[in-house]
Amino acid sequence: MALNEATAHELITRLQQREVTARELVQATLDRIDAVDGQINAFISIDAEGALTHADEIDRRRAKNEPLGPLAGIPIALKDVLCVRGGRTTCGSKILEHYIAPYDATAVAQLRAADAIIIGKTNMDEFAMGSSCENSYFGPTLNPRDPERVPGGSSGGSAAAVAADETILALGTDTGGSVRQPAGYCGVVGLKPTYGRVSRYGLVAYASSLDQIGPISKDVEDTALLLQAIAGHDPRDSTSIDVPVPDYLAGLKDGIKGLKVGLAQEHFPAGLDAEVATAAQSAAATLADAGAELVDVQLPVAGHPEYCIGTYYLIAMGEASANLTRYDGVKYGHRAEGDLNLQEMYLRTRSEGFGEEVKRRIMLGTYALSAGYYDAYYRKAQQVRTLIRQDFEKAFTTCDILLSPVAPTTAFRLGEQTDDPLQMYLNDIYTASVNLAGIPGISVPYANGADGLPIGIQLLAPPLEEAKLLRMAYALERTTA
């Protein structure tokens, strides 16, 4: 197996045993990027020189037996919505095409402290708004499993880069499914941690009450390793949770005997793609064989696609319309040229700088927050959000983990849904409710469809129960291996 195809936990051992050097490993990923990224377009920026210099430094420190961090020498790609000091952070947008961040996001600083090697920034739907990675100013990313298909989104570049062995690890962000859905479409593992478990400082905001950074990797053990590195309280993010971070690797392989896995009938409506439904039911059955107990639960609101999608998009678009007011051509980013007064400059800058989907969401969000409509739309959505949370709380009184599909289908074709925004939003029916409730969720590749494309399984847990969630995901992964 080529170095770039291995997992982080395998490579960490081989690096420690001096079988390979960080330089050889980084070079292997860079060679792979050279070979395939012209087609896949998973990366917006690649820092080959910086990554190799960093690798040499790690190798030197190892040669001197200096202490090294837990991810020492492991290449990682970052979704281009995370600020990295001195490098470009574009958010897949023209308006930030040339933006150089003056500081590191906390998650990035934690990766540096763990001695991981940042190799580049990955493509995404503009400002994380999309489910296909087709809304990028830098062109679409293709699915490495089938280049006629989308990789999912919005963290499509990160998922594709891991699936194509262009990197060992990646970070994405998940506001309504943007880590889990592309992980599912590309056949890799993607985790959305509990809201507040990972600092959002230096993550460019889309919908602040929903956004969360999450690992994307080739297997569950790597996801646990990467979560360990980035989880924790950050005084710079007032919404980060100040509780100790458990050891996510400690109980990972302890098995699932006696754990209760809940299935909600609402997640299996008539008309659901038969392969997707069969995969989820088969996953549940294999977990039962491995010692879990299956229970039926009800999610009358949180399992209802229309209620979840309506609530999610109203809240996300409302928050986005407020967050994106900062792009005014004054402090950073694109500014329209010409002899314009201030108001004209704002209008032209934003109209030139944002893509179609971003403008659509700003418009809907502004409308839903405006006088006269606030109660009918935004406040109503916040109330339904309460009902969604309560549904999950109640379900978790009778089970430890919930199991569902990640997405209603396998990866769709490029261009297939771009003319119909609402159809595109429906990709998030299984994932968006999870952000609304703030609970952790993971996508694990489980089966392949008749089209040869991966089908992912989503597992959910109560707040801060990532250790249990990872343990279940690890067991599920064993049944597919």
């Binding site: 314009l340 502004t366 609304l436």
Partner: protein
């Protein structure tokens, strides 16, 4: 409640966005279709349900009132489209 082209124009002004007449027409149709979908939420009785603005039981996150180092002014200004001395420079505000 159907959204009109005039309302779309008004919302665009609030959002500091401008659209061509053809785009205004298209957006009006899209917004109506999406909002019609959102109207399904009205099937749910939310009388007396507290709205959730945030999932965490957090109130204010206080810290000691101590001065920390701030980012260098030059670093911040480096990203500005236009600057003068230590200021962001903008076009004339009053015609």
């Amino acid at each position: 409640m159907a959204v009109t082209v005039e309302e779309v124009r008004g919302v665009a002004a609030l959002a500091r966005l401008s659209f061509s007449p053809a785009d205004e027409e298209r957006l009006t149709g899209e917004l109506n279709r999406i909002l019609q979908y959102m109207d399904r939420l009205n099937e749910l009785d939310t009388e007396g349900v507290e709205p959730t603005s945030h999932v965490l039981p957090l109130a204010n996150a206080f810290r000691p009132d101590e001065v920390d180092p701030s980012p260098a002014v030059a670093d911040i200004l480096a990203a500005a489209p236009q600057r003068q001395e230590s200021y962001f420079k903008v076009p004339r505000i009053i015609d």
